[in-house]
């Protein structure tokens, strides 16, 4: 379709204020690729119309939320339209007495938490940069910050979804009740699918009550073992740990433990962590700057540096951290009870980054871990699949992609195995 025709069709579907063409599209660059147009629909119907058009014309569509994770994923094979969902920012239904809420995909986490907070509730999503990160983006990337320790993974709290399929049909999965086994749980399939199967436009969550008390504790250790062990021991004892992060800083390993719960539970948990820390060689320190957000972010735009993410068995983390610590990363952050490890090198040229990524792959095999190249310069993505080698179930995944998006409308090439 020629540019003039494309513009006319988009204007027809969405109206003037929802279509960006020309210079404005530069803001929607993904891995060095600019789309032909960006669209900002205000209704689910418009999203549906748009996908109908894209499906008929075989246009490739990449979804956008706050752009905090757009660096994650393989380079799209084609990129015609940026679908910016941030105008879909409504709370559709919040029934405080049910501890559930249905919201549109474009609402930011900060804004949603503020709304729920008025009723003493919160949603258990914990992406970096919540002022920009949207609900839809958090689900599509399945990004879970350190509070995953207490709140679970996005997949565990999402009880319903409304999505627009590649051909524009609007469908639902799950429901609005906290327990439900009616039909296949397609919410799970869409969570973490990086916009390659469907466009998430609405989600229903089970909510948590807000904790009455919170506290933050910081401990410094010489080695990673003590820091990780303290966190795991705290969890084993059921202490009121909301999150635990271990980060390497100036050669030391810092444990940042956040506590949440009732006043007495938080108070006792703090005392117990303190008394557990000393025998493990930990010293209490103050005023530590939490680096997990910087480690996890994979912003859009020309990416500098290299961020790698490993998924390990938690018990292997200390050894892995020490090993990587020797390679002088600018950031080294782990969630010690979960087994997630982020390492970032800020100033690294492409050749060195490629070598590092290959070396990281070898380490992953040695550690029986998974490795994702979480963020890297676009040029690097030419030669590698950022998600690594396809697993034994890859054929099923390919068949799912083919069945859901036969025409390659939804972020083609962006997923594992360039699906």
């Amino acid at each position: 379709m020629r540019e003039g025709t494309l513009e006319a069709r988009l204007l027809d579907v969405l109206g003037r204020d929802a279509v960006v063409m020309g210079e404005g599209v530069a803001a929607y660059t993904v891995d060095g690729l600019q789309p032909r147009a960006a669209v900002r629909p205000a209704t689910v119907e418009q999203v549906s119309e748009l996908l109908r058009l894209a499906h008929a014309e075989r246009l490739a569509v990449v979804c956008w939320g706050g752009g905090t994770m757009m660096g994650l994923g393989n380079r799209p094979l084609r990129y015609d339209l940026a679908l910016d969902l941030r105008r879909l920012d409504q709370v559709v239904e919040h029934e405080p007495a049910d501890l559930t809420a249905t919201v549109q995909a474009g609402i930011t986490l900060a804004s949603l938490q503020e709304r729920l907070g008025r009723h003493g509730q919160m949603v258990g999503l914990d992406p970096p940069y919540p002022r920009r990160a949207t609900v839809g983006g958090t689900l599509a990337t399945a990004v879970a910050g350190p509070r995953r320790l207490s709140l679970g993974h996005p997949r565990d709290i999402t009880i319903g979804m409304r999505v627009v399929l590649a051909d524009g049909r609007v469908t639902r999965a799950g429901g609005r009740v906290v327990k439900n086994v009616a039909g296949y749980d397609l919410c799970k399939l869409y969570t973490g699918s990086l916009g390659t199967l469907a466009v998430i436009v609405e989600a229903t969550f089970k909510l948590y009550p807000r904790p009455r008390a919170e506290a933050a504790l910081f401990f410094s250790f010489e080695g990673a073992e003590g820091a990780c062990r303290l966190a795991r021991e705290g969890r084993r004892r059921g202490l009121a740990l909301a999150s635990a992060t271990v980060q390497r800083q100036e050669g030391a390993y810092l444990l940042l433990a956040r506590l949440a719960g009732t006043e007495r539970a938080v108070e006792r948990s703090a005392l117990e962590l303190h008394s557990l820390a000393s025998p493990l060689g930990g010293e209490t320190v103050a005023g530590v700057m939490d680096r997990w957000e910087a480690a996890m972010a994979a912003p859009a735009g020309p990416a500098r540096g290299l961020t790698l993410r490993w998924g390990l068995l938690p018990a292997r983390l200390p050894q892995a951290m020490e090993r990587l610590g020797d390679l002088s990363p600018s950031l080294l952050v782990a969630f010690p009870t979960v087994g997630t490890l982020y390492a970032r090198w800020e100033d690294i040229d492409d050749a060195a980054a490629l070598m590092a990524a290959e070396g990281a792959r070898r380490l992953a095999r040695e550690w029986e871990a998974t490795l994702t190249v979480h963020s890297c310069p676009a040029a690097l993505k030419e030669g590698l699949d950022v998600f690594g080698e396809p697993p034994s179930s890859w054929r099923l995944m390919r068949q799912v992609k083919e069945r859901w998006d036969e025409r390659g409308v939804l972020a083609p090439g962006r997923f594992l195995g360039r699906l």
Partner: protein, 483 residues
């Protein structure tokens, strides 16, 4: 299509002669599950390894014979009921706990392992497996995975889907693959998430990696006794609305207690209108504060009596009574029909009133015993199938109750599954497009009707039709049923 002798011989070559059953007298114990539905398979295979399961699937596929996987047969939606003319893959011999890894909080088990055995194996390390269906002494992990089994303590900890990290899985092609794994955030689509709860229609699980949780420091059990059901269900709604999430929050009504007490002597008051069996867990401090808050709410809503401070034996008896409630109902009537619906927790009092009204209108006695904190209702309609027209009335009443749940914004099944029985109700909550997206998953897996055809979704292939007729004859549950 009947299984021919040549297929039996092929199966025997894979698993060994003694592990293929095909004589009618051997097959009869494999014809049922916790529902009334029955169908005789042509053969039952008992493989001893994942590779054997895969080989059996390849044979079945080549001959176009449907396959039904079977654990303990305690399911409540016909998931393990064979397809007529099909073969059953029983996981009886795949019953090994392969690994308990306390450092990483993981268990690796075969599908035939009994649910409770996982917690027992993990107990020396202070760990346990959280999902606790009432049938947990009998039901298997494979079945739990297939049905996304719940249980009383799922209120706080979530259902099976929240505790499965990875699955070894036989695809419809007969390939052995891993979905997910032991480490967090495996790359690719979350196929574990869709296979859990797929009711045996996508493939057969041959190993499961399960998450183990540390045992909580303190557990406080509270029995709140009410004169009437309305007060009790109000209390449930208020507890949730105040943001209190107990570990378990169960309700038993008078009819249920009438059945349970003479049989189990669990300690439920015989003259109460309803009781709430509540458990709060966590650190001592936390559990105590929650217990006080819960008791305060119950008192305010007119609880006649609050009992706490149970000994471990007393607690176990209360739970034994709760978990064996369904079996006990047989004392009240020759037949009963179990319903499984979900409503938003704020609507519980209203819907429960509707349930009693409907039953009165249909002239049926009802016993309610259910996961109140989740809004997961289990009305059990009591009747005598020999009485002319009784079965019809039960089915009509059941359908009306399902409608009440859906109209309140709920679901047609919270934990038992769709199976045959409820596939016609799916369109009440899903559009044709919603359902075709689900059906697309089956196509993507390439099942071609190989696994449990006719369940969850309607099909034109043989065994669904047989059961459709049987569905009309639903009258009572089998001997191994639990809710």
């Amino acid at each position: 299509m009947p299984v021919e002798r040549s297929i039996v011989r092929e199966l025997q070559r894979i698993v060994g002669k003694r592990w293929v059953l095909y004589r009618p007298e051997e097959l009869i114990v494999y014809e049922y599950d916790g529902t009334i539905e029955r169908a005789l398979p042509e053969a039952v295979v008992l493989p001893g390894s994942a590779e054997e399961v895969a080989a059996v699937v390849r044979v079945a596929r080549r001959h176009g014979v449907p396959v039904t996987a079977r654990g303990a047969g305690t399911g409540l939606s016909g998931g393990a009921v064979p397809c007529e003319g099909g073969i059953v893959v029983a996981t009886t011999r795949l019953n090994r706990i392969l690994e308990i890894d306390p450092e990483n909080g993981i268990a690796v088990v075969e599908p035939g392992v009994v649910n409770l055995e996982v917690s027992q194996a993990a107990a020396p390390f202070g760990l346990y497996y959280a999902p606790d269906p009432s049938s947990q002494r009998a039901c298997t992990i494979g079945g739990n995975v297939a049905e996304n089994a719940g249980g009383p303590h799922c209120l706080r900890y979530g259902t099976t889907t929240n505790h499965v990290l990875g699955l070894e899985f036989v695809t419809p092609e007969g390939d052995l693959v891993w979905l997910g794994g032991r480490t967090p955030d495996p790359p690719g689509y979350d196929l574990v998430g869709v296979v859990v709860g797929s009711e045996g229609t996508l493939g057969i699980v041959t190993k499961a990696v399960l998450r183990l949780l540390p045992r909580p420091e303190a557990t406080i059990t509270i029995l709140a006794i009410f004169d009437d059901v309305d007060q009790a269900s109000e209390a449930v709604s208020v507890i949730i609305a105040q943001g209190i999430l107990p570990a378990a929050l169960e309700m038993l009504d008078r009819a249920t207690m009438d059945a349970v007490e003479p049989y189990i002597h669990a300690g439920y008051p015989p003259d109460a209108g309803a009781v709430l069996l509540i458990e709060v867990e966590g650190l001592r401090e936390e559990a105590q504060e929650q217990a006080q808050a819960v008791q305060g709410i119950c008192q305010e809503l007119g609880a006649r009596e609050l009992r706490v401070g149970f000994s471990p034996e007393e607690r176990e008896r209360l739970w034994a009574g709760r978990k064996a409630a369904l079996g006990a109902l047989g004392r009240l009537a020759p037949s009963y029909y179990i319903l499984d619906g979900v409503v938003p927790r704020s609507r519980l009092p209203q819907v429960l009133r509707g349930v009693y009204e409907a039953c009165e209108r249909f002239g049926l006695r009802v016993a309610n015993v259910f996961h109140a904190g989740d809004g997961n209702l289990h009305p059990n309609l009591l009747f005598d199938e020999r009485e002319p027209g009784a079965t019809r009335r039960v089915l009509d009443c059941g359908e009306e109750i399902m409608r009440l749940c859906v109209e309140a914004g709920g679901s047609i099944t919270g934990e038992h599954g769709v199976g045959y029985e409820k596939r016609d109700y799916l369109p009440w909550i899903f559009s044709q497009d919603d359902l075709s997206a689900m059906a697309a998953l089956k196509e993507a897996f390439g099942t071609a009707g190989l696994f449990n055809p006719g369940k969850v979704f309607p099909t034109h292939k043989g065994c669904g039709e047989v059961s459709s007729a049987m569905r009309k004859a639903i009258a009572k549950v089998g001997p191994d049923a639990y809710i």
